[in-house]
């Protein structure tokens, strides 16, 4: 077997516990469990702004020039651009922050997931608030002194760690509060991560316009204001967390007597979970589902513009044939399409995760992969038919399943591995997201580039990509099909579970 370590070697009374300690946040009798989802949402809506950071790229790319970018000369190399104060940052250099976000999100969730289970969600939420809010302040300093490395370090690295911790902080707590509706509970929180940019992007835009002057693009003040706002909101969320007593269950709810093989009553230790075949199958399921969807999110705006061209504004001709004004109008519609997809990404998180409580997780993912394959394969035909509404509808449904994949996976893990270490196991599984964050966009961009160099018209350059994404989903379907209940030998004994729970 394997060694287990108690959560607390010396159990302390709640009165002795520190403000952030796990013992301090064990709910009193009569606590209303519906208070926990808004607390989780406060954190997820804050960190979800990571998706909306592109709103800063254009203003930051002219932080020195103010009215227009002051480009660096050819003699300014990669490392000089990190410290230069004489010329503006390129958008491609700023865009690295995205990669840092998702790399550190996955890494920190994987590394600190076990720690979160030991110390409880409040401490993790507070640390996340310091990392995410603090990252904004460090970035503000980077803007003020025009040091790109400070922005990468602040928002990308430190903020990225805050993303990871904040993302996983409410997961196991919500699953324990809602054993009757695991999918819906985690869906509510993870919906916030998708919704963060919906609030953060327009807010950042408003603030930058408010703070802009003849000598500033207003980004410094905006980072300070948003950092403060997110810090306070995340602290409120963290202090709103409560965990149920070990023997707590919802009033009137009785666990199903008839056993469902795909929903375990036992608990697998995080150190054992990653040694199971099921963990890696679910890792592949998440990675493949996200790879396909993340690619679509990244290319949504240019894709609809290139596929429909002038038709979007009622003019004949492809995108290349349009005037500059017409291209600007088409670009606005491209942005509208991207906004619509972000909305369906959020809706899908709540809808599919809630539906999975009725359908079961495995069946829900079956639907994602089957329906997704059909929709991806239909997209080129919809583009060819010239129906913008049909094309948009296909991608809206695809995006609901992209979001649904994120929101349903914690409940799937809880069903397979039990609830004791689900936060930590989920943290490790999020490395699949980091991998998909690289795989999806790279796959799509390179295939498109290759198509264009082979002389394929821009309007058709996405067709092959769609079939490849459909292929990824077929692979995902097979992985999901292979998921079976975890073998008994991986589950903790009652003694081991008691030791892990601190000897209670």
């Amino acid at each position: 077997m394997y060694a287990v370590f108690p959560v607390r070697p010396i159990p302390r009374s709640p009165l002795m516990a520190g403000l952030l300690d796990r013992e301090r946040i064990i709910a009193q009798p009569g606590f209303n469990r519906w208070l926990v989802p808004p607390a989780a949402l406060a954190i997820h809506l804050s960190i979800g702004m990571a998706y909306g950071f592109s709103v800063f790229w254009l203003p930051l790319s002219k932080a020195i020039g103010v009215t227009q970018p002051l480009p660096c000369g050819a003699e300014v190399g990669f490392f000089e651009q990190l410290v230069t104060t004489t010329c503006d940052w390129k958008i491609s250099m700023l865009g690295w922050m995205y990669s840092l976000f998702f790399f550190f999100l996955g890494s920190s969730a994987a590394i600190f997931g076990g720690w979160l289970e030991r110390v409880g969600p409040r401490r993790a939420g507070v640390v996340a608030a310091f990392c995410w809010g603090g990252g904004f302040f460090i970035s503000a300093l980077g803007i003020k002194t025009h040091q790109l490395w400070l922005m990468w370090l602040g928002s990308g690295v430190i903020g990225g760690c805050g993303l990871g911790l904040g993302y996983i902080s409410p997961v196991s707590t919500l699953i324990k509060w809602f054993p009757d509706r695991r999918g819906m509970a985690t869906g509510m929180a993870i919906m916030g991560f998708g919704g963060g940019a919906l609030i953060g992007s327009p807010l950042a835009d408003l603030l930058m316009k408010r703070f802009a002057s003849a000598t500033s693009v207003g980004a410094f003040e905006t980072f300070l204001a948003m950092g403060t706002l997110y810090f306070v909101a995340m602290l409120l969320g963290a202090f709103g967390y409560r965990i149920p007593r070990t023997d707590w269950r919802p009033a009137g709810w009785v666990p199903k007597v008839q056993a469902n093989a795909m929903v375990t009553r036992g608990h697998v230790h995080v150190r054992m979970a990653w040694r199971t075949r099921q963990f890696w199958l679910l890792w592949a399921v998440l990675c493949l589902n996200v790879s396909a969807g993340i690619g679509v999110i990244g290319m949504a705006s240019p894709m609809i513009q290139e596929v429909f061209g002038g038709k979007l504004i009622g003019v004949a001709g492809s995108l290349a044939d349009l005037t500059t004004d017409q291209k600007a109008q088409v670009a606005t519609i491209g942005a509208a399409f991207a906004a619509l997809l972000s909305f369906f990404n959020i809706v899908g998180r709540f809808f599919w995760a809630s539906l999975s409580d009725w359908l079961g997780r495995k069946r829900t993912y079956m639907i994602f992969f089957l329906l997704g394959t059909v929709l991806y394969a239909s997209a080129p035909g919809a583009g060819k038919s010239g129906s913008v509404a049909l094309f948009a509808a296909i991608f809206c449904v695809i995006l609901t399943m992209y979001g649904g994949g994120f929101a349903t996976i914690p409940a799937y893990l809880a069903d397979m591995f039990g609830t004791q270490f689900v936060g930590a196991i989920h943290g490790r599984l999020l490395t699949a997201w980091s991998t998909a964050g690289i795989l999806g966009p790279v796959l799509i961009n390179y295939i498109r580039e290759y198509q264009l160099t082979q002389g394929v018209p821009a309007a058709q350059a996405y067709n092959t990509t769609m079939f490849i994404l459909a292929g990824l989903l077929v692979l995902g379907f097979l992985c999901n099909l292979a998921v079976r209940p975890v073998a008994e030998r991986y589950f903790m004994t009652d003694e081991e579970l008691a030791a892990v729970r601190g000897g209670k």
Partner: protein, 44 residues
């Protein structure tokens, strides 16, 4: 007592629940309205 079947939340706790959901719901609603306004361009 193992489970707390008889521990129903107090009536006042629902007021707190309403406040909590309003605090997160209002900004979300604002973001959704702005998104829909942008997205409406697609169907003009």
């Amino acid at each position: 007592m193992t489970a707390s079947d008889d521990e129903h939340p107090s009536a006042s706790s629902w007021v707190l629940v309403a406040v909590g959901w309003t605090l997160v719901g209002v900004p979300m609603l604002w973001g959704i309205i702005i998104t829909f306004r942008k997205a409406a361009l697609l169907f003009r």
